[in-house]
Amino acid sequence: MTIFIPTPLRLYAGGQDAVEVNAATVAEALEALTQAHPDLRKHLFTSEGKLRAFVNLYLNDEDVRYLPDKEAAPVSSADTLSIIPSIAGGR
Protein backbone atom coordinates (compact mmCIF):
# COMPACT_ATOMS: atom_id res chain seq x y z
CA MET A 1 0.00 0.00 0.00
CA THR A 2 1.00 3.62 -0.38
CA ILE A 3 1.64 5.81 2.63
CA PHE A 4 1.55 9.55 1.86
CA ILE A 5 4.14 11.49 3.81
CA PRO A 6 3.24 15.15 4.49
CA THR A 7 5.77 17.91 3.85
CA PRO A 8 6.80 18.49 7.50
CA LEU A 9 7.74 14.80 7.87
CA ARG A 10 9.44 14.19 4.51
CA LEU A 11 12.73 15.20 6.06
CA TYR A 12 12.54 12.03 8.16
CA ALA A 13 11.54 9.80 5.24
CA GLY A 14 14.45 10.45 2.94
CA GLY A 15 12.62 13.34 1.29
CA GLN A 16 9.98 11.05 -0.21
CA ASP A 17 6.35 12.16 -0.51
CA ALA A 18 5.06 8.58 -0.62
CA VAL A 19 6.39 5.26 0.65
CA GLU A 20 5.26 1.81 -0.53
CA VAL A 21 4.95 -0.88 2.14
CA ASN A 22 3.62 -4.42 2.34
CA ALA A 23 1.22 -4.80 5.23
CA ALA A 24 -2.01 -6.48 6.27
CA THR A 25 -3.22 -3.84 8.74
CA VAL A 26 -2.81 -0.11 9.40
CA ALA A 27 -0.60 -0.87 12.42
CA GLU A 28 1.62 -3.17 10.34
CA ALA A 29 1.92 -0.53 7.67
CA LEU A 30 3.11 2.03 10.23
CA GLU A 31 5.53 -0.52 11.66
CA ALA A 32 6.95 -1.18 8.19
CA LEU A 33 7.22 2.56 7.56
CA THR A 34 9.08 3.28 10.79
CA GLN A 35 11.32 0.24 10.28
CA ALA A 36 12.36 1.67 6.94
CA HIS A 37 12.59 5.23 8.32
CA PRO A 38 13.42 5.05 12.04
CA ASP A 39 13.63 8.87 12.36
CA LEU A 40 9.87 9.02 11.75
CA ARG A 41 9.06 6.98 14.83
CA LYS A 42 9.32 9.72 17.43
CA HIS A 43 7.23 12.05 15.28
CA LEU A 44 4.41 9.52 14.99
CA PHE A 45 4.52 7.64 18.28
CA THR A 46 4.92 8.52 21.96
CA SER A 47 7.69 6.85 23.94
CA GLU A 48 5.03 4.33 25.07
CA GLY A 49 4.42 3.40 21.43
CA LYS A 50 1.02 5.09 21.14
CA LEU A 51 0.14 7.17 18.11
CA ARG A 52 0.54 10.86 18.98
CA ALA A 53 -2.73 12.77 19.48
CA PHE A 54 -1.90 15.47 16.93
CA VAL A 55 -1.17 12.94 14.17
CA ASN A 56 -4.21 12.12 12.07
CA LEU A 57 -4.20 8.96 10.00
CA TYR A 58 -6.58 8.41 7.13
CA LEU A 59 -7.14 5.09 5.41
CA ASN A 60 -8.23 6.30 1.98
CA ASP A 61 -10.60 9.15 2.98
CA GLU A 62 -11.64 7.76 6.38
CA ASP A 63 -10.20 8.76 9.73
CA VAL A 64 -8.61 5.64 11.27
CA ARG A 65 -9.99 6.72 14.68
CA TYR A 66 -13.51 6.11 13.35
CA LEU A 67 -12.87 2.74 11.69
CA PRO A 68 -14.44 -0.19 13.61
CA ASP A 69 -11.05 -1.92 13.97
CA LYS A 70 -9.08 1.34 14.27
CA GLU A 71 -5.36 0.63 13.74
CA ALA A 72 -6.08 -3.10 13.37
CA ALA A 73 -8.14 -2.32 10.25
CA PRO A 74 -7.20 -4.57 7.34
CA VAL A 75 -5.55 -2.95 4.32
CA SER A 76 -4.93 -4.05 0.75
CA SER A 77 -2.24 -3.05 -1.70
CA ALA A 78 -4.62 -0.65 -3.45
CA ASP A 79 -5.31 1.33 -0.25
CA THR A 80 -3.64 4.56 0.70
CA LEU A 81 -2.73 5.72 4.16
CA SER A 82 -2.35 9.49 4.66
CA ILE A 83 -0.59 11.07 7.59
CA ILE A 84 -2.23 14.45 8.15
CA PRO A 85 -0.20 16.73 10.36
CA SER A 86 -1.27 19.95 12.01
CA ILE A 87 -0.07 22.92 10.04
CA ALA A 88 -0.75 26.48 11.08
CA GLY A 89 0.89 28.81 8.56
CA GLY A 90 -1.10 31.60 7.02
CA ARG A 91 0.85 34.82 6.88
Binding site: F54, D61, E62, S86, G89
Partner: protein, 392 residues
Protein backbone atom coordinates in the same frame (compact mmCIF):
# COMPACT_ATOMS: atom_id res chain seq x y z
CA UNK B 1 -26.97 23.11 3.64
CA UNK B 2 -25.99 25.34 6.51
CA UNK B 3 -26.58 29.01 6.06
CA UNK B 4 -26.01 31.94 8.33
CA UNK B 5 -28.93 33.66 10.04
CA UNK B 6 -30.59 36.03 7.61
CA UNK B 7 -31.29 39.61 8.60
CA UNK B 8 -34.96 40.61 8.93
CA UNK B 9 -34.77 42.78 5.83
CA UNK B 10 -32.14 42.81 3.12
CA UNK B 11 -30.51 46.09 2.03
CA UNK B 12 -31.56 47.54 -1.34
CA UNK B 13 -29.03 47.47 -4.18
CA UNK B 14 -28.07 50.90 -5.55
CA UNK B 15 -27.72 51.72 -9.25
CA UNK B 16 -23.95 51.46 -8.81
CA UNK B 17 -24.39 48.05 -7.22
CA UNK B 18 -26.47 46.84 -10.14
CA UNK B 19 -23.75 47.66 -12.65
CA UNK B 20 -20.83 46.55 -10.46
CA UNK B 21 -22.30 43.17 -9.62
CA UNK B 22 -24.00 42.46 -12.95
CA UNK B 23 -22.06 39.21 -13.49
CA UNK B 24 -23.29 38.00 -10.10
CA UNK B 25 -26.84 39.17 -10.71
CA UNK B 26 -27.22 37.08 -13.83
CA UNK B 27 -26.08 33.94 -12.01
CA UNK B 28 -29.18 32.11 -10.82
CA UNK B 29 -27.28 31.00 -7.68
CA UNK B 30 -26.64 34.63 -6.69
CA UNK B 31 -29.18 36.94 -8.32
CA UNK B 32 -30.62 40.04 -6.65
CA UNK B 33 -31.37 38.31 -3.41
CA UNK B 34 -27.94 36.70 -3.16
CA UNK B 35 -26.21 40.00 -3.83
CA UNK B 36 -28.37 41.62 -1.16
CA UNK B 37 -27.33 38.87 1.26
CA UNK B 38 -23.68 39.58 0.47
CA UNK B 39 -24.30 43.27 1.09
CA UNK B 40 -25.91 42.51 4.44
CA UNK B 41 -23.11 40.13 5.50
CA UNK B 42 -20.44 40.87 8.06
CA UNK B 43 -17.25 38.85 7.70
CA UNK B 44 -14.18 38.95 9.94
CA UNK B 45 -10.78 38.24 8.40
CA UNK B 46 -8.32 37.27 11.10
CA UNK B 47 -4.96 38.35 9.68
CA UNK B 48 -4.19 40.41 6.57
CA UNK B 49 -1.19 38.35 5.51
CA UNK B 50 -0.80 35.50 3.05
CA UNK B 51 -4.29 34.06 3.37
CA UNK B 52 -5.90 37.33 4.46
CA UNK B 53 -4.75 39.19 1.33
CA UNK B 54 -6.68 37.21 -1.30
CA UNK B 55 -9.54 36.64 1.14
CA UNK B 56 -10.08 40.31 1.83
CA UNK B 57 -9.60 41.35 -1.80
CA UNK B 58 -12.08 38.85 -3.22
CA UNK B 59 -14.65 39.37 -0.47
CA UNK B 60 -14.45 43.10 -1.07
CA UNK B 61 -14.78 42.65 -4.81
CA UNK B 62 -17.76 40.33 -4.29
CA UNK B 63 -19.64 43.03 -2.38
CA UNK B 64 -19.52 41.83 1.22
CA UNK B 65 -21.11 44.72 3.12
CA UNK B 66 -18.93 44.78 6.21
CA UNK B 67 -15.43 43.39 6.36
CA UNK B 68 -13.57 43.33 9.67
CA UNK B 69 -9.78 42.98 9.65
CA UNK B 70 -7.68 41.92 12.64
CA UNK B 71 -3.94 42.58 12.53
CA UNK B 72 -1.27 44.25 14.63
CA UNK B 73 1.68 43.81 12.30
CA UNK B 74 3.49 46.14 9.92
CA UNK B 75 4.40 45.33 6.34
CA UNK B 76 7.87 43.83 5.91
CA UNK B 77 9.74 43.37 2.62
CA UNK B 78 9.65 39.58 3.13
CA UNK B 79 5.81 39.69 3.13
CA UNK B 80 5.51 40.93 -0.44
CA UNK B 81 6.33 37.58 -2.07
CA UNK B 82 2.79 36.45 -1.14
CA UNK B 83 0.80 39.12 0.73
CA UNK B 84 -0.57 40.70 -2.41
CA UNK B 85 -2.76 43.29 -0.71
CA UNK B 86 0.40 45.17 0.31
CA UNK B 87 2.77 47.02 -2.02
CA UNK B 88 6.42 47.95 -1.93
CA UNK B 89 5.55 51.49 -0.84
CA UNK B 90 3.76 50.07 2.20
CA UNK B 91 6.89 48.59 3.81
CA UNK B 92 6.94 49.75 7.41
CA UNK B 93 3.26 50.73 7.35
CA UNK B 94 0.55 49.10 9.44
CA UNK B 95 -0.94 46.20 7.51
CA UNK B 96 -4.43 47.36 8.48
CA UNK B 97 -3.94 50.79 6.91
CA UNK B 98 -2.31 49.35 3.82
CA UNK B 99 -5.11 46.77 3.40
CA UNK B 100 -7.87 49.34 3.97
CA UNK B 101 -6.46 51.60 1.27
CA UNK B 102 -6.39 48.80 -1.35
CA UNK B 103 -9.83 47.51 -0.41
CA UNK B 104 -11.50 50.91 -0.54
CA UNK B 105 -9.81 51.62 -3.88
CA UNK B 106 -11.31 48.38 -5.16
CA UNK B 107 -14.77 48.95 -3.69
CA UNK B 108 -15.49 52.26 -1.95
CA UNK B 109 -18.97 51.17 -0.85
CA UNK B 110 -17.67 48.49 1.51
CA UNK B 111 -17.56 49.16 5.24
CA UNK B 112 -14.11 48.24 6.64
CA UNK B 113 -13.68 47.78 10.39
CA UNK B 114 -10.08 47.77 11.59
CA UNK B 115 -9.21 45.83 14.75
CA UNK B 116 -5.67 46.96 15.48
CA UNK B 117 -4.83 44.25 17.99
CA UNK B 118 -3.58 40.73 18.46
CA UNK B 119 -6.59 38.45 18.85
CA UNK B 120 -6.53 37.12 22.43
CA UNK B 121 -8.68 35.29 24.94
CA UNK B 122 -9.49 38.70 26.43
CA UNK B 123 -10.86 40.28 23.23
CA UNK B 124 -11.81 37.47 20.81
CA UNK B 125 -15.44 37.00 21.85
CA UNK B 126 -16.05 40.72 21.89
CA UNK B 127 -14.60 41.18 18.40
CA UNK B 128 -16.11 38.08 16.76
CA UNK B 129 -19.64 38.47 18.17
CA UNK B 130 -20.51 41.28 15.74
CA UNK B 131 -19.78 39.18 12.64
CA UNK B 132 -21.65 36.42 10.79
CA UNK B 133 -18.65 34.41 9.60
CA UNK B 134 -14.97 34.25 10.48
CA UNK B 135 -12.18 33.51 8.00
CA UNK B 136 -9.10 32.29 9.83
CA UNK B 137 -5.91 33.44 8.16
CA UNK B 138 -3.66 33.33 11.19
CA UNK B 139 -0.24 31.74 11.38
CA UNK B 140 0.19 29.94 14.67
CA UNK B 141 -1.37 27.16 16.71
CA UNK B 142 -2.47 29.19 19.77
CA UNK B 143 -4.48 31.57 17.57
CA UNK B 144 -5.92 28.67 15.54
CA UNK B 145 -7.33 27.10 18.71
CA UNK B 146 -8.46 30.49 20.01
CA UNK B 147 -10.37 31.31 16.80
CA UNK B 148 -11.92 27.83 16.77
CA UNK B 149 -13.08 27.92 20.37
CA UNK B 150 -14.44 31.46 20.09
CA UNK B 151 -16.35 30.49 16.92
CA UNK B 152 -17.83 27.39 18.57
CA UNK B 153 -18.81 29.32 21.71
CA UNK B 154 -20.46 32.06 19.63
CA UNK B 155 -21.91 29.75 16.96
CA UNK B 156 -20.05 31.45 14.08
CA UNK B 157 -18.85 29.36 11.11
CA UNK B 158 -15.09 29.46 10.53
CA UNK B 159 -13.75 29.27 6.98
CA UNK B 160 -10.41 27.69 7.76
CA UNK B 161 -7.23 27.58 5.72
CA UNK B 162 -3.62 26.87 6.56
CA UNK B 163 -0.44 26.47 4.59
CA UNK B 164 3.06 25.08 4.86
CA UNK B 165 5.68 25.09 2.10
CA UNK B 166 3.71 23.62 -0.85
CA UNK B 167 0.87 22.15 1.13
CA UNK B 168 -2.45 23.62 2.19
CA UNK B 169 -5.58 22.63 4.03
CA UNK B 170 -9.06 24.13 3.95
CA UNK B 171 -12.36 23.34 5.61
CA UNK B 172 -15.35 24.97 7.26
CA UNK B 173 -15.47 24.48 11.00
CA UNK B 174 -17.75 25.33 13.89
CA UNK B 175 -21.10 25.16 12.15
CA UNK B 176 -23.97 23.86 14.22
CA UNK B 177 -23.87 20.34 12.83
CA UNK B 178 -20.32 20.04 11.57
CA UNK B 179 -16.98 19.29 13.20
CA UNK B 180 -14.65 21.91 14.62
CA UNK B 181 -10.88 22.28 14.42
CA UNK B 182 -10.52 20.39 17.69
CA UNK B 183 -12.48 17.43 16.30
CA UNK B 184 -9.67 17.12 13.73
CA UNK B 185 -6.77 18.12 15.97
CA UNK B 186 -7.69 17.50 19.63
CA UNK B 187 -4.18 18.48 20.72
CA UNK B 188 -1.59 20.83 19.28
CA UNK B 189 1.82 19.48 18.36
CA UNK B 190 4.56 20.27 20.86
CA UNK B 191 6.28 23.59 20.14
CA UNK B 192 9.12 23.26 17.68
CA UNK B 193 7.94 20.05 16.00
CA UNK B 194 6.11 21.77 13.16
CA UNK B 195 8.14 24.62 11.71
CA UNK B 196 6.43 27.93 10.97
CA UNK B 197 6.42 29.46 7.47
CA UNK B 198 9.17 31.77 8.68
CA UNK B 199 11.29 28.70 9.45
CA UNK B 200 10.06 26.30 6.80
CA UNK B 201 9.30 28.67 3.94
CA UNK B 202 6.16 28.84 1.81
CA UNK B 203 5.49 29.02 -1.91
CA UNK B 204 4.18 32.55 -2.43
CA UNK B 205 1.29 31.43 -4.60
CA UNK B 206 0.01 28.83 -2.14
CA UNK B 207 -1.77 31.24 0.25
CA UNK B 208 -3.41 32.68 -2.87
CA UNK B 209 -4.84 29.28 -3.78
CA UNK B 210 -5.96 28.46 -0.24
CA UNK B 211 -7.21 31.97 0.63
CA UNK B 212 -9.39 32.00 -2.48
CA UNK B 213 -10.85 28.64 -1.44
CA UNK B 214 -11.68 30.18 1.96
CA UNK B 215 -13.29 33.20 0.30
CA UNK B 216 -15.36 30.86 -1.91
CA UNK B 217 -16.61 29.02 1.16
CA UNK B 218 -17.51 32.30 2.88
CA UNK B 219 -19.55 33.42 -0.13
CA UNK B 220 -21.32 30.05 -0.37
CA UNK B 221 -22.23 30.11 3.30
CA UNK B 222 -23.74 33.57 2.89
CA UNK B 223 -25.65 32.60 -0.24
CA UNK B 224 -26.68 29.24 1.21
CA UNK B 225 -25.79 27.62 -2.12
CA UNK B 226 -23.69 24.70 -3.21
CA UNK B 227 -21.95 22.12 -1.09
CA UNK B 228 -19.72 23.61 1.54
CA UNK B 229 -16.51 22.12 2.96
CA UNK B 230 -18.30 21.33 6.22
CA UNK B 231 -17.20 17.84 7.25
CA UNK B 232 -14.51 17.70 4.58
CA UNK B 233 -10.83 18.58 4.75
CA UNK B 234 -9.49 19.70 1.39
CA UNK B 235 -5.77 19.02 0.96
CA UNK B 236 -3.88 21.06 -1.59
CA UNK B 237 -0.50 19.88 -2.85
CA UNK B 238 0.77 22.67 -5.06
CA UNK B 239 4.03 20.93 -5.95
CA UNK B 240 2.29 17.97 -7.58
CA UNK B 241 -0.91 19.99 -8.15
CA UNK B 242 -3.17 17.48 -6.51
CA UNK B 243 -6.33 18.19 -4.56
CA UNK B 244 -7.59 15.47 -2.25
CA UNK B 245 -10.30 15.46 0.37
CA UNK B 246 -10.84 13.58 3.60
CA UNK B 247 -14.00 13.02 5.61
CA UNK B 248 -14.18 14.89 8.88
CA UNK B 249 -16.53 13.86 11.64
CA UNK B 250 -17.88 15.77 14.56
CA UNK B 251 -16.27 14.13 17.59
CA UNK B 252 -18.98 13.47 20.21
CA UNK B 253 -16.22 13.68 22.81
CA UNK B 254 -14.81 16.97 21.50
CA UNK B 255 -13.93 19.13 24.53
CA UNK B 256 -15.46 22.24 22.94
CA UNK B 257 -18.21 21.20 20.49
CA UNK B 258 -18.98 17.68 21.80
CA UNK B 259 -21.92 16.43 23.80
CA UNK B 260 -20.34 17.23 27.17
CA UNK B 261 -18.01 20.14 26.55
CA UNK B 262 -15.31 20.82 29.12
CA UNK B 263 -14.12 24.01 27.44
CA UNK B 264 -16.96 26.49 28.02
CA UNK B 265 -14.96 29.68 27.98
CA UNK B 266 -11.73 30.81 26.32
CA UNK B 267 -8.56 29.48 27.94
CA UNK B 268 -4.86 30.35 27.91
CA UNK B 269 -3.94 29.20 24.40
CA UNK B 270 -0.23 29.89 24.72
CA UNK B 271 -0.14 27.52 27.66
CA UNK B 272 -2.42 25.02 25.87
CA UNK B 273 0.05 24.90 22.99
CA UNK B 274 2.99 24.48 25.34
CA UNK B 275 4.39 27.97 25.09
CA UNK B 276 5.13 29.01 28.65
CA UNK B 277 6.05 32.66 29.05
CA UNK B 278 9.80 33.03 29.24
CA UNK B 279 10.87 33.45 32.85
CA UNK B 280 13.78 35.60 34.03
CA UNK B 281 15.82 32.41 34.60
CA UNK B 282 15.07 31.15 31.07
CA UNK B 283 16.69 34.27 29.69
CA UNK B 284 19.96 32.93 31.12
CA UNK B 285 19.37 29.15 31.20
CA UNK B 286 16.64 27.39 29.18
CA UNK B 287 16.04 23.64 29.59
CA UNK B 288 19.50 23.34 31.09
CA UNK B 289 21.17 25.22 28.22
CA UNK B 290 22.89 28.51 29.10
CA UNK B 291 21.80 31.32 26.75
CA UNK B 292 24.38 33.72 25.44
CA UNK B 293 23.32 37.12 24.09
CA UNK B 294 24.63 38.48 20.81
CA UNK B 295 26.24 41.34 22.78
CA UNK B 296 28.17 38.87 24.95
CA UNK B 297 29.25 36.92 21.86
CA UNK B 298 30.47 40.11 20.22
CA UNK B 299 32.38 41.04 23.39
CA UNK B 300 34.05 37.63 23.45
CA UNK B 301 35.05 37.82 19.80
CA UNK B 302 36.39 41.34 20.23
CA UNK B 303 38.30 40.29 23.35
CA UNK B 304 39.82 37.35 21.49
CA UNK B 305 38.18 34.85 23.85
CA UNK B 306 37.13 31.38 22.73
CA UNK B 307 33.98 31.60 20.56
CA UNK B 308 33.44 28.23 18.90
CA UNK B 309 30.33 28.54 16.75
CA UNK B 310 28.26 25.80 15.14
CA UNK B 311 25.69 26.99 12.60
CA UNK B 312 22.79 24.49 12.36
CA UNK B 313 20.89 26.16 9.52
CA UNK B 314 20.43 24.80 6.00
CA UNK B 315 22.98 25.50 3.23
CA UNK B 316 20.56 27.81 1.38
CA UNK B 317 20.21 29.92 4.50
CA UNK B 318 23.98 30.00 4.89
CA UNK B 319 24.13 31.56 1.42
CA UNK B 320 21.84 34.40 2.53
CA UNK B 321 23.59 35.44 5.74
CA UNK B 322 26.41 34.31 8.00
CA UNK B 323 27.91 35.34 11.31
CA UNK B 324 30.62 32.68 11.25
CA UNK B 325 30.89 29.16 12.55
CA UNK B 326 30.96 25.73 11.00
CA UNK B 327 27.80 24.85 9.06
CA UNK B 328 26.24 21.55 10.11
CA UNK B 329 22.51 21.54 9.21
CA UNK B 330 20.39 20.43 12.15
CA UNK B 331 19.48 17.04 10.72
CA UNK B 332 23.09 16.21 9.94
CA UNK B 333 24.28 16.91 13.48
CA UNK B 334 23.63 13.38 14.85
CA UNK B 335 25.82 11.88 12.10
CA UNK B 336 28.53 14.51 12.26
CA UNK B 337 29.31 14.65 15.98
CA UNK B 338 32.90 13.75 15.21
CA UNK B 339 33.28 17.19 13.63
CA UNK B 340 32.20 19.01 16.81
CA UNK B 341 34.98 19.47 19.37
CA UNK B 342 33.94 18.16 22.79
CA UNK B 343 36.70 19.95 24.63
CA UNK B 344 35.57 23.46 23.78
CA UNK B 345 32.46 25.36 24.75
CA UNK B 346 30.12 24.93 21.79
CA UNK B 347 27.97 27.94 20.86
CA UNK B 348 25.10 26.74 18.67
CA UNK B 349 23.31 29.25 16.50
CA UNK B 350 20.64 29.50 13.79
CA UNK B 351 18.30 32.15 12.38
CA UNK B 352 16.20 32.87 15.47
CA UNK B 353 17.68 30.72 18.23
CA UNK B 354 14.88 28.13 18.20
CA UNK B 355 16.46 25.32 16.19
CA UNK B 356 19.84 25.91 17.84
CA UNK B 357 18.21 25.52 21.28
CA UNK B 358 16.96 22.06 20.28
CA UNK B 359 20.34 21.06 18.86
CA UNK B 360 22.09 22.41 21.98
CA UNK B 361 19.80 20.21 24.09
CA UNK B 362 20.64 17.28 21.80
CA UNK B 363 24.40 17.89 22.14
CA UNK B 364 24.13 18.10 25.89
CA UNK B 365 22.32 14.75 25.91
CA UNK B 366 25.01 13.37 23.64
CA UNK B 367 27.53 14.15 26.38
CA UNK B 368 28.94 17.52 25.40
CA UNK B 369 29.94 19.12 28.71
CA UNK B 370 29.67 22.78 27.68
CA UNK B 371 26.98 23.80 25.19
CA UNK B 372 25.34 27.21 24.96
CA UNK B 373 22.68 28.66 22.68
CA UNK B 374 22.91 32.01 20.93
CA UNK B 375 19.65 33.67 22.02
CA UNK B 376 17.83 35.40 19.17
CA UNK B 377 20.23 33.99 16.58
CA UNK B 378 21.27 35.80 13.44
CA UNK B 379 18.16 38.02 13.57
CA UNK B 380 19.30 39.42 16.93
CA UNK B 381 22.85 39.80 15.60
CA UNK B 382 21.52 41.84 12.69
CA UNK B 383 19.32 43.97 14.99
CA UNK B 384 21.83 44.59 17.76
CA UNK B 385 25.33 44.15 16.37
CA UNK B 386 25.61 44.37 12.59
CA UNK B 387 22.66 45.55 10.47
CA UNK B 388 24.62 44.67 7.31
CA UNK B 389 23.93 40.99 8.08
CA UNK B 390 20.96 40.19 5.87
CA UNK B 391 17.75 39.31 7.72
CA UNK B 392 15.42 36.79 6.08
Amino acid sequence: MTTIAEPASLPELTTDDLSRYSRHLILPEVGMEGQQKLKAAKVLCVGTGGLGSPLALYLTAAGIGTLGLVDFDVVDASNLQRQIIHSTKDIGRKKLDSAEEKLLALNPAIHIVKHDTMLSSANALDIIKDYDIVADGTDNFPTRYLVNDACVLLGKPNAYGSIFRFEGQASVFATETGPCYRCLYPEPPPPGLVPSCAEGGVLGILPGLVGVIQATEVIKLILGKGESLIGRLLLVDALNMRFRELKLRKNPECPVCGEHPTVTKLIDYQQFCGFAPETAEEKTVKNGIPQITVKELKRRIDAGEDAYLIDVREPYEFQIAQIGGKLIPQNDVPNRLAEIDRDREVIVHCRSGARSQRIAEFLKQAGYPRVVNLAGGILAWSDEIDPSVQKY
